[in-house]
Amino acid sequence: MSGFIPVRVTDIRQVTPVIREVSLQSLGTALPKFSAGSHIQVLLPNGKRNAYSLLSDPLDTRHYRIAVRHQENSRGGSRYVHEQLQVGDELRIAPPANLFPLHNEAHLHILLAAGIGITPFMPYCTELLRRGAPFELHYAYRNCISDAYVAQLRDLLGERLHCYDSPQRRLDLKHVLSNRPLGSHVYACGPQRLLDDLHQQAASLGWSDSRIHSEAFSAAQSGQPFSVQLLRSRQQLNVSADQSLLEALEAAGVEVPNLCRGGVCGQCQTGYLQGDVEHRDHFLSPDEKAASLMPCVSRGCGQPLLLDL
């Protein structure tokens, strides 16, 4: 992982009762350029480290903006942002990485957002408008709770925006996916349930997988405390209930490559030789799970873990 970037919080806005927008400015030179769909990792003073999509204009390298939803079962990351983070605070971030890029050859881009899943689509819209590319945004939310940026998007997109204010109006995937031209690509960001429905519906309508792109906004969830042993560095670590295994490793100075910190990118794959694992990722195949785990989300349970680290 190349160097972390020191930033200062320059603005905090309550966008909805459960969503806060945070603006970050570099303390040094300009921030790195990025492509639409990129995320950054934010290192909070309480030791928590989460990935958030960038929602600012990719051309703006003076500020980054992210939006954080207050999670009920927060391990302390989103709670910290909502309850403690102040304008003027200094944080560190990892440089942007893109696990959810635009498909440059699509003839029509169909964007599906649910709730806080709107964030990667904010720069998508800016970028697609700039390119003059055909696209439409389907946005499902709960009015006055998770309806971030609806007014702004309506101004920006006009007829390209389709709103689904649940429970009054539901997003009908079959309707959205039917009778689309061959070069259409669909992008979805939302809870795992939406993504599963999308894949199922798309498959039954004959869409090939290569035209479907999705990003789950999963992050580590808390669980039971457990302990691990590291084979090569001969260390023993205790992982607390609201800490991820990856965070515990990092706190002990063991660097493991990682990007999404949500169990999807595959970067943090780590071998284990003994122990019981509660697998919580969306990356490993059932076979691979016998010898590998994703420490960003998965946890030990039962027999103590011995990691190949």
Binding site: S2, P32, K33, F34, S35, G37, P58, P95, P96, A97, N98, P101, L102, H103, N104, E105, S210, L259, Q267
Partner: protein, 338 residues
């Protein structure tokens, strides 16, 4: 180390290209062992060994002016050596920005960049260029952005669009290829354009390499060395001009092998372009004649052993079968154990 440029030498007809003593010293001799086998020899492209070709991301050396003259000559004859598909415009501008930023930072005595929003000014003292333009507006440059910057930087550039977990060669400026053609490979996927390479497919080299490449992140470029042999210091060995150089291979004799046969080493750097998410594949070529190479005894001995023991399929692919024995015999005089 201060960088100075040699008077223009040529890479065709009279082949007046020569390396200075310093250029020989910093030549990237590519063999870490006495044997050669394919491997995914990728490493992080971090700066090391000041003065070496690994110091800067984009190496400029004494042949800068000669190579830019050669680039112009080849492009004039065949404009299709530069190609940018419509969806690669952002990647082309990304490339221009990355190259201008690096060159002005790494070689401030030769290049300068000043920016005010999208109003940019670029100065190239080596070629006497002072250009103001609007970033993102190709009409404010004398030509398309990739061609514009490509005519001012040594090495070839392929820009790979990343989609569906694969890489596609959808743009590039390629005037000094080691027997491959941008026009032919345009639009191809990673495995398609590598299909002629023998043995490596079976070894799974390309599967592993592709997985690695699609995961390269902004600010974390990687590099590797590749090599082949070329007759004469000819940079443009492309299929399009095969009729001009193909028969050279039959002309090697014990008397001319030292001056005609050149080791050709490519420094390949792969970097993620930040705005487009495309992958830049830069191929910087270094040439050294056998006469120049054997001034370094350790290199001469090792090259003898590598070429003597090279599997035939690889020798064939690299086009050296016709003169390999002549070369190995000649090199054996520098190998104490031969």
């Amino acid at each position: 180390m201060s960088l100075t440029f040699k008077p223009v030498g040529s890479y065709h007809q009279d082949f007046s290209f020569r390396n200075s003593e310093e250029a020989i010293q910093r030549f990237p001799f590519p063999f870490p062992e006495d044997q050669y086998m394919y491997s995914v020899n990728l490493e992080p492209a971090t700066s090391r060994n000041p003065g070496s070709i690994f110091e800067h991301c984009f190496d400029i050396d004494e042949h800068y002016r000669s190579e830019m003259v050669e680039r112009n000559r080849v492009l004039e004859r065949d404009p299709r050596r530069c190609l940018v598909m419509p969806h690669m415009q952002t990647a082309a501008w990304d490339t221009l920005a990355m190259l201008m930023e690096h060159l002005s930072q790494d070689y401030p005595q030769w290049f300068a960049l000043s920016r005010d929003g999208d109003q940019w000014q670029w100065q190239n003292h080596a070629l006497g260029i002072d250009q103001r333009f609007t970033y993102g507006d190709a009409d404010t440059l004398p030509c398309e952005p990739l061609e514009y910057i490509g005519r001012q930087v040594q090495g070839d550039f392929a820009l790979l669009d990343q989609r569906e977990g694969d890489l596609f060669m959808d743009a590039g400026i390629v005037t000094c290829p080691a027997d491959w053609s941008l026009a032919f490979d345009a639009g191809m996927s990673f495995k398609q354009w590598h299909s002629p390479v023998p043995m490596a497919h079976q070894m799974g080299v390309f599967d592993r390499a592709l997985k690695y490449l699609v995961n390269i992140q902004v600010g974390q470029p990687v590099r590797r060395l590749n090599w082949t042999l070329t007759i004469n210091p000819r940079l443009d060995t492309s299929p399009e001009t095969f009729h001009e150089w193909g028969s050279d291979r039959a002309s090697i004799t014990p008397g001319n092998v030292g001056s005609l046969v050149h080791l050709r080493v490519e420094l390949q750097v792969m970097a993620r372009l930040p705005r487009s998410n495309a992958l830049m594949f830069s191929i910087r070529t270094y040439l050294i004649s056998m006469d120049e190479l054997v001034t370094q005894p350790a290199w001469a001995q090792r090259l003898h052993r590598v070429l003597r023991d090279l599997p035939d399929a690889i020798a064939d692919y690299k086009g050296m079968t016709l003169y390999r024995q002549t070369l190995v015999d000649w090199l054996s005089q520098f190998d104490s154990q031969a």
